[in-house]
């Protein structure tokens, strides 16, 4: 609120001397609520408290000046902790309209002593929460869920956020702040109702109350203001008023120290609206920071108009036509909705509803996201996606140059120096089978994932099945850009491995049901050596592959997972149990979906490729699948091709000399027959590196001809049984149709009978 400082009214009348000393004034707020922030500023200006106590990490108290250096918000206090049992990271985000931020700023400006009074982020009371990357200011929302749901039902509102906007954010212009405060108190009493405070809450509330008592003892007859989340306010009020409170020691409570042997600390990091927004992240805070920033700066009317304008610009930039008539319709719809809902101005939801009603001329697959809570699903209407993005806003915080650097910057510098990468000027070649080089590769991949410039990978394995064991990285001197990027990345963790894992984790959660994206993330995760995340990701993948509706991305995920499961020795995930679950689930799903396909003339390449991957899974990992070969064959028939119509190109080593065998997809090669055919001493399957060397292609994508080197080629006669067969075209994701005779001619193959014979 830019005008606040200049418009401070004259000091209000102090209480008459005969009044008892004023008790603490408790102000319950909703985190990231502009209305609450405005109320905090009002109360500080009228009350002129001696102490302002704020729900925030008490270990930051010595460094409050650091917060007030003059950053461009949003920023966050990032806290990390590590001991032998657990690793915890958490954020305390602050934006221009955060009540906690206003309490800090306005409190200081009015000459009050400001203190953060909550336990440090690493404390078990906060760390025991179920979500692993906790946002300090997201705790209460979940607890209120049940109470707000009932309230919404009674008041005929769809979501808690719409309810909140109507009750508090967009109020009559002449609403008395005291009335708003009474309404807030009533609201929090009502919604706390049946929410159970857990042990962590009780510990935090007891700790905060000890600060309140100390402040009261110090303040004498001067007022004390306590700004906390509304959830804690009733309990704090009771705890602070306990008998004997007045006689409490005037010393501030001790700030708990991490146990010896544990590492921990808090740093300021830049934050962004995208990270703050409930729609994008899985943790709910107050959604739509971009909108509320405008509301805070320019008031509800301008915020509504700003949102309308932002959506219009976004849609036009994306080439979605938008006529003036549409905009007029949207405006009149949102005005009408605001009147019907009894809002003096259009709220966020009124504007969004108006836009949705007027601009979307299609049927939707899912409810409008602001009527529910949570992440946007796949297939959300593009207009809706742009509307939500416009609400989120794009603001990114920037720290003042004097801010101490986050620990990640030091960690990376130390890492690069230790691995001898700090001053690299020439391209670095890494042999992934060597431990030292693998560590280097992981470090560089983590930096790549975090978007830190400095090294670019020139070559290396493209996916899990790619049998390439060397990587080449080229250094790009960009010291300044690197440090800026590292400071930004510092928001994800104190150590490079943690930060990369946290970012990948965020991407996994934001990826939605797109399995193709997840498969890509899986490989990144493997490259970064993020073990625990790998498990989480695999669990997510395993849960999702069973729900994919499209064979294309499913096939890609299956190919990637199967490749890793079968061949990966370098990164140590071969035969991993969870990976196996992904392979099994994906393959089963391919067969399930394939059975549902029917009637399409010709064959769909993506579907065929998926089926081929599933066939490989059935062949190499039958125990992982619940599908049997019989059902698989039926499924293949549905795709418009028989399993045996998929031509496999296999490389064998006959006494060390590579030989290509072309085999139909339903049969296996009988190695003994190959040996007899060639008159060789010993025939084995060639390993991945040999395949790559001989053909120039990775296993899974080897075509039947067009290889790097000339080899002897055997084609099994069973291929001739078909009019057309499908062969890989150089990548695991493409196949092409060819007549068998033509195939044999092109490949220069000798026709033989080398398939395993049954019975």
């Amino acid at each position: 609120m830019p005008a606040a400082a200049s418009q401070r009214p004259a000091a209000p009348a102090r209480p008459a001397p005969q009044d008892p000393p004023p008790p603490a004034v408790f102000l319950g707020v909703r985190h990231h609520s502009p209305a609450c922030a405005r109320l905090v500023a009002h109360v500080i200006r009228t009350l002129r408290p001696a102490f302002v106590l704020v729900e925030g990490p008490a270990d930051m108290n010595d460094r409050l000046d650091e917060l007030l250096l003059g950053h461009q918000l949003p920023v966050a206090v990032f806290s990390h902790y590590r001991d032998e049992q657990r690793v915890a990271t958490s954020w305390t985000p602050l934006c221009d309209y955060s009540p906690e931020w206003i309490a800090l700023r306005e409190g200081r400006a009015s000459g009050a002593e400001v203190r953060f009074v909550d336990l440090p982020a690493w404390h078990p009371a906060l760390a025991d929460r179920t979500d692993r990357c906790a946002n300090r200011y997201a705790d209460a929302e979940a607890r209120y869920a049940e109470a707000t749901r009932r309230l919404c039902e009674r008041l005929g509102v769809d979501s808690a956020d719409a309810l909140w906007d109507g009750l508090f954010e967009v109020t009559e212009p002449d609403t008395d702040p005291e009335e708003l405060r009474a309404r807030l108190d009533a609201y929090f009493d009502l919604v706390r109702g049946d929410a159970e405070a857990d042990a962590g809450d009780r510990a935090r509330e007891a700790y905060m109350a000890s600060w309140v008592r100390a402040a009261l003892a110090r303040a004498g007859d001067r007022p004390v203001l306590v700004v906390t989340g509304g959830f804690h306010q009733p309990a704090l009020r009771a705890l602070s008023a306990q008998p004997g409170a007045a006689a409490a020691p005037a010393d501030w409570p001790a700030v708990p120290e991490p146990p010896s042997g544990a590492l921990g600390g808090s740093f300021l990091v830049p934050y962004s609206f995208r990270q703050l927004d409930a729609f994008a992240g899985y943790q709910s805070g107050m959604p739509s920071p971009g909108y509320y920033q405008r509301l805070w700066e320019t008031g509800p009317t301008a915020a509504g108009q700003g949102l309308l304008r932002a959506v219009t610009e976004r849609l036009r930039a994306r080439g979605i036509p938008l006529s003036t008539a549409d905009l007029i319709a949207a405006r009149s719809l949102s005005e009408g909705l605001a009147r019907l809902r009894g809002h003096p101005y259009e709220t966020r939801v009124d504007v969004l509803d108006g836009l949705a009603g007027a601009l979307i001329s299609d049927d939707l697959d899912r409810p409008l996201p602001w009527t529910t809570r949570g992440v946007l699903g796949a297939g959300t209407h593009p207009v809706v996606v742009e509307m939500v993005a416009a609400c989120t806003g794009e603001a990114v915080g920037r720290l003042h140059p004097d801010t101490p650097l986050p620990p990640l910057v030091h960690d990376v510098a130390a890492h690069l120096a230790r691995l001898g990468l700090a001053d690299a000027t020439a391209p670095v070649t890494l042999d992934l089978t060597k431990d030292g080089d693998l560590a280097r590769s992981r470090t560089l991949h983590r930096l790549r994932v975090l978007g830190v410039p400095g090294f670019t990978r020139v070559s290396g394995p493209a996916d899990g099945a790619d049998p390439v064991f060397t990587e080449v990285w080229e250094p790009r001197p960009a010291a300044a850009a690197r440090e800026a990027a590292l400071i930004e990345a510092g928001a994800y963790g104190a150590r490079l491995d943690e930060a990369a894992a946290a970012l990948l984790g965020e991407r996994v959660r934001a990826a939605g049901p797109e399995v193709g994206t997840l498969a890509g993330l899986l490989f990144d995760t493997v490259l970064c050596g993020a073990g625990p995340l790998c498990s989480e990701l695999l669990e997510t993948l395993a849960a999702r592959v069973g729900r994919v509706g499209d064979l294309g991305p499913l096939g890609e995920a299956l190919a990637a997972a199967l490749g890793l499961w079968r061949h990966d020795r370098v990164f140590g995930v071969a035969r991993d149990r969870l990976l196996g679950a992904v392979v099994g689930g994906a393959a089963d799903r391919v067969f399930w979906l394939a059975e549902g396909l029917h009637g399409a003339p010709g064959a769909d390449l993506a579907a065929l490729r998926a089926l081929a991957s599933a066939r490989d899974a059935l062949r190499h990992a039958p125990d992982l699948l619940s599908t049997t070969p019989e059902t698989a064959a039926e499924a293949a028939a549905a795709i418009g091709c028989e399993l045996s119509q998929i031509c496999k190109s296999l490389i064998f080593a006959a006494d060390g000399v590579p030989v290509l065998v072309l085999m139909d997809g339903a049969s296996r090669v009988d190695v003994e027959r190959v040996r007899a055919e060639l008159g060789a001493g010993k025939v084995t399957r060639a390993d991945a590196a040999v395949v790559r060397e001989t053909t120039g292609y990775a296993i899974g994508g080897v075509p039947p001809f067009g290889h790097r080197t000339r080899t002897r080629v055997l084609a099994d006669r069973s291929l001739l049984a078909h009019d057309v067969v499908w062969a890989a075209a150089g990548t695991p994701y493409t196949v092409f149709p060819v007549e068998p005779k033509e195939l044999v001619a092109h490949a220069g193959a000798t026709l033989v009978d080398v398939r395993e014979q049954h019975g």
């Binding site: 009674r154 005929g156 509102v157 769809d158 719409a162 006529s323 008539a325 549409d326 319709a329 009149s332 719809l333 009408g336 909705l337 009147r339 019907l340 809902r341 939801v349 509803d353 108006g354 949705a356 009603g357 007027a358 979307i360 001329s361 299609d362 049927d363 939707l364 697959d365 899912r366 409810p367 409008l368 009527t371 529910t372 796949a378 297939g379 729900r547 994919v548 509706g549 499209d550 979906l593 059975e595 549902g596 029917h598």
Partner: protein, 365 residues
């Protein structure tokens, strides 16, 4: 085309229209309504919303289960100069919603055009009484007004059901009518030949996403409507409650004594929701697994069990009745249902799910 209700008498009707079914509530809301009404409306927007989404304290029942904001957007749209297009899967209560809105806004839901392949412009605008036309020539007396003309002349809401099933050229006859708000009758002279829409006239169209879909509508017509998607009920308990209430009412009407068993209904609704494929794309049944369909299966289950064995319906009855619903005309759907009963049902906990699984052989080929 539309019978006058006073003549028919309420008692004899199988399903009286919304304004008759809820006449008391409408009268009470009208009496207590002191909010501003849009011109031509029988109720204010707020009272209309209360009528549809219910208001316990005012003794108004909830008639439409779904997002409140959808109802709000629909009502505000009708108060503007755009029509309202309700789209969604069959059985998502689009027609019910349009009926309720028309009853609340105009006091009558009777002005209805039922769209279909054979719908002609005559059935939308007007036609002639040919005996009078031949004897008297075109006159106001020989004119037979269709719902659109009546709606415009009387300032009422007109419902256009299943608009996408009409031929495109017939749909497009709404264009000038919705933008200019006037129907010209070239056969009549002077002022009689122009019928202007009075305040209160607007159109609620419904379109079914399983039919030809709204993509084939002309862009010009799309522009004249605000679209609202009516989605299947998101919440399990809400849907279960609705199916239970509706099925119980139907069973009473059919003379079945015991109400449906809740645990059996849970399995039924659970099966419907799973087959509806709310979570997974590309897996949808080609048959519609709507709430309305669940109600009719629950009804059939109760009737079958009571009249064949004299007891409330069981999970086995559900399987027997599902065959006719889930697999109406598609062997793939039947296969999917069979697969669900064989693989999914046993994974769920509860005796009724097990019973459902064990009764899977009742699913005839």
């Amino acid at each position: 085309m539309t019978a006058t209700l006073e003549e028919t008498g309420e008692e004899a009707l199988q399903r009286p229209p919304a304004e008759v079914r809820h006449a008391d509530e409408l009268a009470a809301l009208r009496a207590a309504d002191d909010d501003p009404r849009p011109p031509g409306w029988q109720l204010s927007l707020r009272a209309a919303r209360r009528f549809i989404v219910g208001d316990e304290r005012a003794g108004v029942s909830r008639k439409f289960v779904g997002n409140v904001s959808l109802v709000e957007r629909a009502l505000v749209t009708l108060a503007t100069n755009r029509g309202l297009m309700l789209v969604g899967e069959p059985g998502t209560a689009k027609s019910l919603l349009s009926e309720l809105i028309a009853a609340a806004v105009s006091g009558s839901s009777a002005l209805t055009v039922q769209g279909g392949a054979a719908t002609t412009e005559d059935q939308i605008k007007y036609s002639w009484n040919y005996a009078l036309l031949v004897s008297e020539g075109p006159s106001a007396r020989s004119l037979v007004p269709a719902p659109m003309l009546r709606g415009m002349a009387e300032g009422r809401i007109v419902r256009f059901e299943e608009i996408t099933r009409c031929p495109l050229e017939v749909q497009d006859c709404l264009l000038s009518l919705l933008s200019d708000r006037v129907i010209t009758i070239p056969e009549l002279d002077g002022s009689q030949g122009l019928v202007f829409a009075r305040q209160g006239f607007n159109v609620i169209a419904t379109a079914n996403t399983r039919d030809r879909g709204v993509n084939e509508m002309s862009a010009a017509l799309k522009r004249r409507f605000n679209f609202e998607t009516v989605l299947p009920i998101a919440d399990f308990d809400t849907e279960l409650g609705l199916v239970e209430a509706e099925a119980a009412a139907l069973l009473r009407q059919s003379g079945v004594e015991p109400p449906p068993r809740r645990d059996v209904l849970e399995v039924l609704v659970g099966t419907f929701r799973e087959l509806r494929g709310t979570a997974a794309q590309g897996e949808r049944m080609s048959t519609v697994m709507s709430t309305a369909e669940a109600v009719s299966v629950a009804h059939a289950v109760g009737v079958r069990a009571w009249f064949l064995r004299g007891e409330p319906g069981s999970a086995a009855d559900v399987v027997a009745c599902l065959a006719g619903t889930a697999a109406k005309d598609s062997p793939e759907d039947l296969a999917r249902l069979r697969r669900f009963l064989a693989q999914e049902a046993p994974r769920r906990s509860g005796p009724q799910w097990q019973a459902l699984h064990e009764a899977r052989h009742l699913l005839a080929d």
